[in-house]
């Protein structure tokens, strides 16, 4: 739930001197490396899920319902006898895919609109910015919730709804960059050579506007995972029996008085996953865009 304007105020842990490559700076950033390690861990578990766990994430076994954590079920079992650890690592597939595709929706719609808005200015800019204003007038989670309420539940509609909620951030960010870039010498030079606007936008403006977009996309992955899990928790997101972290917590909620552990582990998974993207995003910001360091 972070906003780029707030998050860019960050005191760097060290001042980078000498050769400043992106990886060179990133790999000296311990929190960012921790984030990367957590993410790789999730990816490995998600891909290799059938090799990691002997259990099925969907098949119910009521004789094994609501078991406490033990050696055979490290995180215990849920109300339908399914192994919670198994559902969490299969759930990582769902959450990561939803996050990636939703951010892709935000990028595909938001970046071109922002580029065009900042590059052309005038009425194009006014039109696009009013559109962004209107979208920003809705609380992002509520925009996603209202869209799902109208479109209907299901994984595809969750991706669309959550994706739409992150569009305005990318519009604003890219527009800001394009405004600066269009006044640069190399853009003037390209214009003098009679290059078309489309060519200039794709070859000059886009590449130079990319660094903050990459940072924001990483942070947005965390935000979209949080939003989608919130929809799942309310019961309007990904539906049972698909293992999804938010909907697992929505079910666990009914058992917090008798089996509080059921509600613990899926939450840890969400925190770790979102934290990983936030740490990587902060690290990328420091590495890619030293200008954003305010101090």
């Amino acid at each position: 739930m972070a906003d780029p304007d707030v998050r860019k105020v960050r005191v760097p842990d060290q001042v980078v001197t000498g050769r400043r490559t992106v990886w060179g700076s990133f790999r000296r950033n311990v929190p960012a490396l921790v984030g990367l390690a957590v993410l790789v861990g999730f990816l490995v578990l998600a891909v290799a899920a059938p090799l990691v766990t002997p259990y099925d994430p969907i098949k119910q076994d009521l004789s094994q319902a609501r078991l406490a954590p033990s050696l055979s079920h490290v995180f215990g079992t849920d109300n339908l006898g399914r192994d919670i650890f198994t559902r969490i690592i299969y759930g990582a597939r769902i959450s990561l895919v939803i996050g990636l595709l939703a951010v892709a929706v935000g990028l595909v719609v938001g970046v071109p609109l922002g580029l065009v808005s900042g590059y052309f200015g005038r009425w194009v800019d006014i039109g696009v910015q009013r559109l962004a204003d209107i979208m920003l007038a809705f609380p992002p989670f509520l925009l996603a919730l209202a869209m799902v309420a109208a479109l209907g539940i299901g994984i595809r509609n969750v991706i669309i709804a959550v994706g739409i909620s992150v569009i305005p951030v990318f519009i604003r960010l890219t527009r800001g960059s394009a405004l600066t870039i269009r006044t640069q010498g190399y853009v003037e030079a390209a214009r003098a050579e009679n290059a078309s606007n489309g060519y200039i936008i794709v070859r000059h403006v886009l590449p130079n506007a990319l660094a903050p977009v990459i940072v924001q996309a990483t942070l947005s992955l965390g935000i979209t995972i949080l939003t989608a899990s919130g929809l799942g928790f309310l019961g309007v997101g990904v539906q049972q029996p698909t293992p999804e972290w938010g909907s697992m917590l929505g079910d666990a909620r009914h058992y917090i008085f008798s089996d509080p552990t059921m509600a613990m582990f899926p939450g840890f998974a969400i925190v770790l996953g979102v934290l990983a993207f936030n740490l990587i995003g902060d690290g990328l910001r420091d590495a890619l865009d030293p200008h954003l360091r305010t101090f």
């Binding site: 204003d133 309310l234 925190v271 934290l275």
Partner: protein, 310 residues
């Protein structure tokens, strides 16, 4: 002064355009629904006559522009339609529930801001100590924790295990404590982060050095000169995060069975009470636009250096 009036008029204009756009999106939402909008709005229990009556009444058989004008005209009279579930005016149900949501939003913001400023100041004063690292870690974690999960954990610890506070509802005065903490946590994280960096900047300023040179005690320097500047980061975070706070409040109200419009929204989605969903979404957007307007105006009031001609 005329500069301020100009700014005010322009800023109000932008807000008004946003609200008209919001109303358009709310009207268009009906057309995303599968099937006949009139049937959906009337609800599953309505008969064909009722559906036809609604279709004419809401101009659903007319072009979207007509529907839109019709909707806005209703809004100007405070008319948000009737609930498909209860038949009562949407506006009266919303206004009955609104105070609970506002109370939660205000206490959540207060809890988050106060704790955040304290944590940020302590971290800045004890820069690079363990305290500082703990605050920094907490503030990165704070924005990664799902509000509803934090709420569940608070219920487990303070209601189920310790039995200190009520787990749900709004019957007792102490009922608001857990929801406010759950909702305010991410605000605290962001405010702590910004306060820390603002304080580090301010503590290096000339006037602070002068105060120190004059022999002012460290405590006096921190509180008198530096803390006064902490209000701006708080205001910035509130301005940027009020939307997320309202979204978080929907989840918090669901976890704690808090009787606000967020829970009403979720219930209405499940009951397919679409006029109610439209009305609530609209009210949230109005709240957000109004708060952003207030925050922008407060900036110019607090910090005269901020120009009106931006």
């Amino acid at each position: 002064m005329s500069g301020f009036v100009q700014y005010l008029v322009r800023r109000l204009g932008v807000s008004l355009v946003s609200l008209l756009g919001v109303a358009l999106i709310v009207v268009l939402l009906t057309h995303l629904l599968p099937g006949d909008p009139a049937r959906t709005i009337a609800g599953v229990l309505a008969d064909q006559e009722e559906v036809d009556r609604l279709r004419r009444q809401l101009a659903l058989d007319r072009p979207i522009l007509v529907q839109y004008l019709h909707f806005v005209a209703g809004l100007l009279h405070g008319d948000l339609g009737e609930s498909a579930r209860t038949g009562q005016p949407v506006s009266s149900e919303i206004f009955a529930r609104l105070p609970a949501t506002l109370a939660l939003a205000v206490t959540g913001t207060l809890v988050g801001s106060v704790l955040g400023v304290v944590a940020g100041v302590v971290a800045a004063v004890r820069k690079t100590t363990t305290t500082d690292h703990v605050v920094s870690t907490l503030s990165v974690t704070g924005v990664s924790v799902p509000i509803y999960w934090l709420g569940l954990m608070l219920v487990i610890v303070f209601a189920v295990e310790l039995g200190w506070l009520p787990a749900a509802g709004a019957e007792q005065p102490t009922s608001i404590i857990l929801p406010s903490v759950a909702l305010g946590f991410f605000i605290m994280a962001l405010v702590a982060r910004m306060t820390r960096s603002t304080m580090l900047e301010v503590l290096g300023e000339d006037y602070v050095r002068t105060a120190r040179a004059k022999g002012a005690s460290e405590r006096r320097v921190v509180y008198k000169h530096a803390l006064r500047n902490a209000f701006i980061p708080v205001l910035t975070v509130i301005g940027l995060q009020f939307g997320n706070l309202l979204g978080g409040a929907v989840l918090t109200e669901t976890v704690f069975a808090w009787p606000g419009i967020g829970r009403l929204l979720v219930d209405s989605i499940f009951a397919r009470d679409f006029p109610m969903v439209q009305g609530i979404v609209l009210v949230y957007a109005v709240l957000l636009v109004v708060v952003n307007l207030m925050v922008d105006l407060m900036y110019t009031w607090i910090d005269p250096r901020i120009s009106f001609h931006g």
